[in-house]
């Protein structure tokens, strides 16, 4: 139990919704969510498929702990072949949508085919039906969510939808639920848009059953106590949010600035968590209104923010004079340091637009950074931008382009290509700060060596959430390692990758691991689910998932040569800070990584490795 043991298969071409049993043999090997849905994708989709063709599938997946009393047990993911990357994609979101889907009695929804005209899926417990979305197509996430709740007279309905960006083929469109929680990366919203699927609206009243309620209550209570007593999860994250990292990473000399030209940003403190707490001169209120939490979460790292009503972005625009999803660290970095913009309200506004129109602020900000560099070089001109001065630090350029990208208009349509295609188009592909087509998040791998290997080997393109070695290399969790040394980082990256694979397959938030070890997680899964779930078994699930994703990518045409970083990080030394003079030592770490993984020198899992993992 704890799985609902039911899948909803939706054939958009035929307009059919059918129930089928969850494959429990696979659940035993892949647990749920990221792992289990990846298994379905690998079994059902040709890895060479065009991500935007009807033959690609889009899977909405919960984990066994989604919707339970486990802290942070509200996570859900979108699994597909990513539009931005052409690699396997798994984008994880929080909020309340995932738990609601589970309450309705479904572990997963598999969308296949393509609807002839825009539709949305309506689920009320067992009943599932495709509905005409003509009234919602062309509308934002915020309008769609409000409209669906009003139309069905159900304020408790939970909605996940795409904005205009996903309809218009912005390569890094995401799926947003509960107004400002996002399955953000790799263009999963672009795939959803290509299927003419606007939204999923769900209402569930059935609840979730766990295997051993008494043991589960004890395991989850014990684990919640660990979160509450830990200084990071009990105090730091709720008070400061992830944005506390802005000054940390800047001091460490690993804050990628102006498209990774620099590693420290002179405006970092202006856009930091500390700045979000400062009362403004104009109205005496801080940018941060309050913290927020996803379903069942006892950490509450979310930021709810308000823009100064006199700021140019929202003046006379009442719809944005609201408290809504504020800046998290990755978004603040991409919209700010990557572009050189230090106007906190401008960044908050751009972030609002990313939520409203459902596109990834990391890829968006990083692509603006690349475009700004091309503009400063004279390669992109005002003729290209429609008159926008794309100079470093220009806040108005950033916010204007956020709105244009959301609507797919003007130069925003070019930003919507993502940095890889944009820089290729203008003849400077080296200036795309990406791996496998996906833009880097907020850590410069010249100053945090393990993150270079993390990015290079990530199965969904550059990503910090696949192995967050920053925790060890900078923050000392669980143990401090030297960020400037590449020694031992191959093993560290693998340990993080495998543990994260298990957490992402469980229905839990990876931020719990700042306090929880696998010893805190395994008893919760073991009590909730049938079968025996030890730490060892969970780590094996993580390793299996990693190799499964890797195999999909190899079959899709990626090779070991794609496990690399842009030249800038391998050849141009950091100019300031502790990493001054250093490049990323990927060449040293990668062979060791392959060997420890049980892969060939070319990065292909050996037959022994595949056999050992029953792949």
């Amino acid at each position: 139990m704890s799985w609902a043991k039911r899948i909803l298969r939706v054939n958009l071409s035929e307009g059919s919704c059918t129930e089928e049993p969850l494959n429990m043999d696979w659940a035993e090997k892949y647990l749920g969510q990221r792992g289990l849905a990846s298994k379905y994708l690998v079994e059902e989709v040709d890895p060479k498929v065009d991500p935007l063709s009807p033959d690609n599938k889009l899977i909405i997946a919960t984990g066994p702990l989604t919707g339970t009393a486990a802290s942070t047990g509200g996570r859900w993911s979108v699994i597909t072949k990513g539009a931005l990357t052409g690699a396997i994609a798994c984008s994880n979101s929080g909020g309340f949508f995932g738990a609601e889907l589970k309450f309705a009695g479904w572990d997963m929804i598999i969308f296949e085919g393509k609807a002839a005209k825009p539709v949305y899926l309506l689920i009320k417990d067992d009943a599932a039906e495709l509905m005409d979305a003509a009234d919602y197509w062309g509308r934002t996430v915020w309008e769609t969510e409000k409209g669906l709740k009003a139309e069905h007279q159900d304020p408790q309905m939970r909605v996940a939808s795409i904005g205009q960006s996903g309809e218009n083929g912005v390569k890094f469109a995401c799926v947003v639920n509960d107004l400002h929680r996002a399955a953000g990366r790799s263009g999963v919203g672009t795939v959803m848009g290509s299927k003419n699927l606007k939204a999923i609206a769900v209402r569930g009243t059935k609840g979730v059953k766990v295997q051993d309620p008494d043991a589960f209550l004890k395991a989850t209570s014990d684990a919640k106590a660990v979160l509450a007593e830990n200084a990071v999860t009990g105090e730091g994250l709720p008070a400061m949010g992830t944005q506390v990292l802005m000054n940390v990473i800047n001091e460490t000399g690993a804050l990628p600035t102006r498209n990774h030209k620099d590693v420290q940003f002179e405006g970092a403190s202006d856009i930091s968590a500390e700045a979000m707490h400062e009362p403004r001169r104009s109205d005496g209120k801080p940018n941060l209104t309050r913290n927020g939490a996803c379903f069942g979460c006892t950490i509450g790292c979310g930021r709810i923010a308000t823009i100064d009503p006199n700021h140019y972005t929202v003046k006379n625009r009442e719809q944005y004079q609201i408290a809504s999803g504020g800046l998290e660290y990755e978004a603040a970095w991409a919209l700010g340091a990557a572009t050189g913009v230090n106007d906190l309200d401008a960044l908050t506004f751009a972030n609002f637009i990313c939520n409203e129109q459902a596109f990834d602020p990391i890829s968006f900000g990083a692509t603006i950074g690349a475009a700004m560099e091309l503009y400063e070089m004279g390669v992109i001109t005002k003729d290209d931008t429609g008159g926008i001065e794309l100079t470093w630090g220009n806040a108005e350029a950033l916010t204007t382009l956020a709105e244009l990208t959301g609507r797919g208009e003007g130069f925003g349509a070019e930003i919507g290509l993502g940095s890889k295609l944009l820089t290729e188009k203008y003849g400077h592909p080296d200036l795309s700060m990406s791996v496998k087509g996906q833009e880097f998040p907020a850590y410069d791998s010249r100053g945090i060596q393990g993150m270079g290997l993390t990015y290079a080997t990530s199965n969904r393109g550059a990503c910090h959430l696949r192995s967050y070695t920053v925790a060890s290399e900078v923050l000392g969790i669980p143990e401090k390692t030297d960020p400037l040394s590449s020694d031992g980082k191959a093993g560290l990256v693998i340990a993080f990758q495998d543990a994260t694979g298990a957490v992402d397959s469980a229905g839990l938030c990876v931020f719990t691991t700042f306090a929880w070890s696998m010893d805190n997680i395994a008893p919760q899964i073991d009590a909730a689910c049938e079968g025996d779930w030890s730490v060892e078994k969970l780590l094996e699930v993580g390793e299996r998932v990693w190799n499964l994703e890797r195999k999909f990518n190899l079959d899709a045409g990626f090779t070991g040569k794609d496990d690399t970083l842009p030249k800038r990080l391998l050849k141009d030394a950091a100019k300031t800070g502790p990493a001054e003079g250093k490049v990323n030592e990927l060449g040293k770490m990668l062979p060791e990584y392959y060997s420890l993984r049980g892969w060939t020198d070319d990065g292909v899992p050996t037959n022994e490795t595949l056999d050992r993992l029953a792949l």
Binding site: A231, L237, N247, E274, C301, E330, V470, K480
Partner: protein, 83 residues
């Protein structure tokens, strides 16, 4: 000698008056150690988790011996994380 101190997150409240953007230059005696400065600012030891001098980590065991030089920046955080 003069050094810059930077106190972040929940340690911000220990900043001497006049600090701007979580930092301020202060006078310390020549050869002062990291631990001397932590002590002089009355920072609770358990909250001094991440201690950086010019961006480089100073482990708890090294704080007594790590002496500061003129113009260096000492930045301190309580336990924090993000991502």
């Amino acid at each position: 000698m003069k050094i810059t101190i930077k106190l972040f997150a929940l340690l911000g409240k220990y900043l001497p008056e006049g600090a701007v953007k979580n930092q301020i230059d202060i006078e310390v005696s020549d050869g002062a150690s990291v631990q001397d400065v932590i002590h002089s600012l009355s920072l609770p030891a358990e909250h001094c988790h991440l201690v950086l001098v010019d961006g480089v980590y100073v482990a708890p065991s090294e704080r007594d011996n790590k002496t500061l030089s003129e113009g260096q920046a000492l930045a301190i955080w309580p336990p924090v994380a993000g991502g």
